[in-house]
Amino acid sequence: MQFVQLLISGISQGCIYGLMALGFVLIYKATETVSFAQGELMMLGAFCALALMTVAGFPFWLAVPASIAAMGLFGMGLERAVIRPILGQPAFSIVMLTIGIGYVLRGLVTMIPVIGTETHQLPVPYQDLSFRLGALVLSAGQLVVMLATGLLCAALFALFRYSKLGVAMQAAAQNQLAAYYMGIPVQRLDGLVWALAAAVAAVAGLLLAPVTFVHANMGLIGLKAFPAAVVGGFSSLPGAIVGGLLIGIVESLSGFYLPEGFKDIAAFIVVLVMLMLRPNGLFGEPLRKKV
């Protein structure tokens, strides 16, 4: 029973890693860069919802879509302002750029007097609810996390499978130049992808907020989502979720069964093992250039 309980908490934590990893994968697929600012975008999303609810007095169900939309716009603006000018440069410069963006966002939030340095609680309506299922205790927060992740995955799947936009994104992800020649506005798509990634990050932030509270350093959890993306394969959307779940479960189980200290690095050990066994991840397609 305890095992199942641990499994469930691992899965709900893993969903959050998976959502974060989804953001990495979206950006990686489209622009072949890795955004180190993803965790900070998540933090910003949570703060945005917090501000909407406590300062502007929005009800919860309005604040959530509003903050997701706001983060989407923010992501698009970010791409337009700083990422686009250096497209075509080596991937490493964009990585450094996103590290810089992360620093700035975290610093700016910290700089807001009083609010920035403290820990806040996002007033969610399902805060104290929990269900009993035999000997299992399921908190409403965990259920909401799993449910929301499932819905978001379905929505993304539908977007990529059935909409023209999603197909265009796939085309651009496979070969930017060819997609450009086919009349796909690659640059505008990049902006949309960043918007999508920022919105997904905001969802992750909102789901994480009741668990860890809202504070300026909550973005550091993004570092745990890298392993999730790598394990799943950096170029596979379902892989990101599977990787996230795997990391979450491993972390939860190692926290209980292994000596203290293993919980924090379990994810990274999994990554190293993964890179040695299958450098392309579980779902990554091995690509090779033929000369």
Binding site: E32, R106, G107, L108, Y180, L275
Partner: protein, 358 residues
């Protein structure tokens, strides 16, 4: 403007290209030697830090700037060096022997990390080094019998041949000497076949391979050498602070080191020094600027992070060659004075090159 007409291969290999180099670098060395009698104790300590970070920066520059492999966990090597030095001098080993061991152990750690570098590339390598950094940091925190855990570990001032280097001046000379040795070593390495192989790997792995360069050997070698330099830097760092704890060697330190080489200018030895100078000078400049800003902004805790991030963004966007690139442009402008064209250093825009296909 000076024109150099090379008439022999020896001329092409010379460390100092012309008399001007000898003069100016000699002057710089002289200034650094005379520094203890000119500057105050505090600034001398900062200068020592610049030299220490320059050694680490040289190592990372070798890896990131010249071989094109990026390490997001470089602080771990720094930590391996620091803890080795602390442990060995703690049980009474002489300074020099402990330093060699620190460098050797870091190099061994670098070799281990270099192994995955043979299979993975780009961001996957970043993840591997990041994971290594996290694991080592946790190891430092948990292996209490050796590292003292989170409580940290104290070091005695270094003893060189029975001579205690407790004073700032003596330590400054130690750092200066090691920096000069490391710089000469790196410069010589870079003009040797090994250094050429590193640059070839950076520019194109496929063409390097087809020229007969053993990729695996040179990549692990690059990691080891880079880690060894970081280990030396770490040992000096531990002695300078006389106290080390695991959180000094975390992800933030790794990112600081990357920031250092990027701001200094990737792919130039000058860049390592300029970056180190920048990294040490930045907090001072921010502290100075604080007094000018209104109190609500100046005293806010996040100011330093914002400035660091903004500087990083500005450099990547506007000056990818870093501080050294800025200096190159200034020098070229001065040399060609009325004839400098604006577009001389302009980057070519290109479609993104896929890193997935390699």
């Amino acid at each position: 403007m000076r024109f150099l007409f090379k008439t022999s291969y020896a001329q092409d290999l010379r460390l100092a290209r012309h008399g001007g180099h000898v003069f100016w670098y000699g002057l710089l060395c002289l200034a650094l030697v005379l520094a203890p009698w000119v500057v105050q104790e505090y600034w001398l300590a900062q200068l020592s830090f610049v030299l220490i970070y320059a050694i680490v920066g040289l190592g990372l520059m070798l890896l990131a700037g010249f071989t094109g492999l990026f390490s997001l966990g470089h602080a771990a090597f720094l930590g391996v060096g620091a803890y080795t030095q602390a442990g060995l001098t703690g049980i009474g080993w002489p300074f020099a022997l402990a330093l060699v061991c620190a460098a050797a152990l870091s190099a061994a750690a670098g070799w281990v990390v270099g192994l995955p570098a043979l299979r993975v590339k780009g961001i996957y390598l970043g993840m591997a080094t990041l994971s290594f950094g996290f694991i080592v940091e946790e190891l430092f925190a948990r292996w209490e019998s050796v590292t003292g855990g989170n409580a940290g570990k104290h070091l005695a001032p270094p003893q060189v041949w029975g001579l205690s280097l407790e004073s700032g001046t003596a330590f400054h000379f130690l750092c200066l000497g090691l920096t000069v040795v490391c710089t000469l070593a790196v410069l010589n390495l870079l003009r040797s076949p090994t250094g050429r192989a590193f640059v070839a790997i950076r520019d194109s792995e496929i063409s390097a391979q087809s020229m007969g360069i053993h990729l695996a050997r040179y990549k692990t070698l690059s990691f080891s050498l880079s880690a060894a330099l970081a280990g030396i830097g770490g040992a000096l760092y531990a002695h300078k602070l006389q106290f080390i704890s695991p959180d000094q060697f975390g992800i933030m330190q790794s990112i600081d080191l990357l920031l250092m080489v990027v701001v200094g200018g990737l792919g130039s030895v000058h860049g390592a020094f300029l970056g180190a100078l920048f990294l040490i000078a930045m907090p001072q400049l921010i502290a100075l600027g604080k007094d000018w800003l209104p109190a609500t902004i100046g005293q806010a805790p996040g100011l330093q992070a914002v400035v660091y991030g903004a500087v990083l963004i500005a450099f990547v966007l506007f000056e990818p060659m870093g501080l050294y690139g800025r200096w190159l442009k200034l020098r070229t402008w001065l040399q060609m004075f009325p004839f400098y064209r604006r577009g001389m250093f302009k980057r070519q825009r290109s479609f993104q090159k896929s890193e997935r296909l390699r």
